[in-house]
């Protein structure tokens, strides 16, 4: 019990310290790890909004992209300093999430879900329509912080920011607002019956999720130094949504574990990139059917079963 209670305190420094060491190594491993951290941020956004607060939102690539493209516009046309670009990117994303919630708040849950899914489909089209500003499918080059500060230094910033965000989310779900988010997700009528204004709390959840997603997007463009409409297509959105499912939607560590699998496993299959869509599709289906509580819980069950079988066999042998 004591270990379980202290797990976040152990988990967080591990998340922070271990990858930070990769800054000493540099190169591709460091680059992929940074990328992994950017998707851990997005995975936690999906976990907080969809799985913790129960809000049917699938448009994560749109909020992420808005954060990134805000940086592009502010740098190319207004020459705004990087730190303000990142903050404004996060704020605009938060605003998008708020507007989306206000517009769909009267609609039934799954209508809002479809609307957000369609938002993920339409956003790349909007980026392509704004080709002169955004570069559309060809993409746009960006003079990001990773060029200014150096890849290793910015990698450390990404790791640090991710750790702070995850720590804040851990804190958030343990304070009153976080508990109300869970209550809304479990039983909104009950939450209303206790006199809570659930509308305000849902609005807060959208605002926070939008802000973090936009912040993640702004870090993404500063890390990769380029972005195109292909990077933020509907697959990105569904993949972000899938990250907590992959790791375990009920676990606070689910998004981190899910992102780990989501980013690192495809690296193993890079030689058969042509078949990646088929493999992704199969993974979506098989995970949902056979590991609905995520990889770790599923594997834990299998290991427990195996262990209990071994113990039983040994007991039988001893009896004989």
């Amino acid at each position: 019990m004591k270990l379980q209670r202290n797990l976040p305190r152990i988990f967080l420094p591990l998340v922070f310290i271990l990858p930070a060491l990769l800054a000493l190594v540099g190169g591709y491993t460091q680059w992929v790890t940074g990328y992994l951290y950017l998707f851990i941020i997005q995975g936690y956004v999906a976990w907080l909004l969809f799985f913790k607060t129960g809000q049917p939102f699938y448009g994560y690539s749109a909020t992420m992209a808005l954060g990134a493209y805000t940086c592009v516009v502010l740098q190319r046309f207004l020459n705004v300093p990087s730190i303000f670009q990142i903050v404004l990117g996060a704020l605009f994303s938060s605003l998008l999430a708020i507007v989306f919630f206000l517009c769909t708040s009267r609609a039934k849950g799954f209508y809002a879900g479809i609307a957000s899914f369609l938002l993920a489909i339409i956003f790349p089209k909007l980026i392509e329509a704004l080709y002169p500003i955004t570069g559309g499918r060809s993409g746009v080059q960006f003079y990001g912080l990773s060029l200014l500060l150096g890849p290793s230094n910015f990698f450390l910033i990404v790791v640090l920011t991710t750790t702070v965000i995850v720590a804040l989310i851990f804190w958030l779900i343990n304070i009153r607002a976080g508990k109300i988010f869970t209550l809304i997700s479990e039983n909104e009528d009950l939450a209303q019956a206790t006199g809570l204004n659930t509308f305000n709390f849902k609005l807060l959840a959208y605002a926070i999720a939008g802000f973090i997603s936009g912040l993640g997007g702004a870090l993404y463009i500063n890390y990769t130094n380029s972005i195109s409409s292909i990077d933020i297509n509907v697959f990105t959105s569904v993949s972000i949504f899938f990250i907590p499912l992959l790791g375990g939607k009920r676990s606070i560590y689910g998004p981190a574990i899910g992102a780990l699998f989501y980013i690192l496993v495809p690296e193993l299959f890079s030689s058969i990139e042509r078949y990646m869509d088929i493999l992704y599709g199969l993974a979506y289906i098989l995970i949902m059917i056979f590991l609905p509580d995520g990889i770790i819980v599923g594997l834990g069950r299998v290991i427990n079963k195996l262990l209990s079988k071994i113990v039983r066999t040994k007991n039988m042998e001893n009896t004989n």
Partner: protein, 286 residues
């Protein structure tokens, strides 16, 4: 220009009403949102394109057979057991049907030699009515689309199978109680929905190129139209398809394809704010 725009709009709307009807039918009867219908349809269209050297009829029959078989097989062997075990879990079926669509997109990339196709048939001439000129091919396309929709209504009203799916959509428990093979009904409806997706994709391919992402574009248009009309409501979907078709047609004079999609999403959002259940309201029964 106005009349020409309306006619083009009606043709686009008529074609779009096919996948919309597929969406409405599947949601109406089975109660799940299937995001793979349009991609199954586009996959069928790629099969049809591959069979074109053998003639137009084998090509169309090949496409119909493929999409029908995929729709039936998926429902029978994958979705029905899941519905039985987990009910109509929206998140589950969102990911599962998205996964199916992703696999099919991947298969199109791997199996077919060209990633972009279109169906260009020899023009059968131009029909002149007063001062309006319409290609006969397009008139045939809209006639077939409307014919299929009417046939569907006729099938529902007059045949035992049609009545069984109306009954299933209205009261699932009662349908089971009176001995309707609900799983067969679900599989048949899924097969027909995917076939409608194919016919829509095929006609879409006579107007525009079909690519790896067309399935998502048609899914996007299909769901926008279905929701604006009232999801699950076939008549609402058809009216909405015609309105959206006319909007696409007129927007085409001034806006690029990308901006047209943005405009449609704007309209969809406006409808969601003003009438959250669509123009004619949502209904699960057809």
């Amino acid at each position: 220009m106005v009349v020409q725009g309306i006619i083009t709009g009606i043709i686009i709307g008529g074609i779009l009403s096919l996948p919309v009807m597929g969406v409405a039918l599947i949601y109406g009867v089975i109660g799940i949102l299937n995001y793979a219908i349009a991609t199954v349809g586009v996959f069928g269209a790629f099969v049809a394109w591959q069979l074109l050297p053998y003639g137009i009829l084998p090509a169309i029959l090949g496409g119909i057979f493929t999409s029908f078989l995929i729709g039936y097989g998926l429902q029978q062997f994958l979705l029905n057991p899941l519905i039985k075990r987990k009910g109509n879990d929206l998140t589950l079926f969102f990911i599962i049907t998205f996964g199916i669509a992703t696999i099919l997109s991947g298969l199109i990339k791997v199996l077919f030699p060209r990633p972009t196709i279109s169906f260009e048939f020899q023009s059968l001439g131009i029909l002149h009515i007063a001062s309006i000129a319409v290609g006969i091919n397009r008139v045939i396309a809209i006639a077939i689309a409307v014919g299929i929709l009417l046939l569907m209504r006729f099938f529902e009203k007059t045949t035992k199978t049609g009545k069984s799916w109306v009954g299933t959509s209205q009261n699932l428990k009662m349908a089971k109680l009176v001995g309707i093979n609900v799983e067969f009904v679900f599989s048949l409806v899924s097969a027909i929905g995917c076939t409608l997706g194919f016919i829509g994709a095929f006609f879409w391919g006579t107007l525009y190129n079909l690519t790896l992402t067309t399935g998502w574009d048609l899914c996007f248009l299909g769901y926008i139209i279905a929701i604006v009309g009232g999801i699950g409501n076939i008549w609402g979907g058809m009216i909405s398809a015609l309105i959206m078709g006319i909007i696409i047609s007129f927007a085409g004079y001034w806006l690029s394809g990308m901006w047209q999609s943005v405009l449609l999403y704007g309209i969809f959002f406006l409808v969601l704010v003003i009438a959250p259940k669509g123009i004619l309201g949502s209904e699960r029964s057809i």
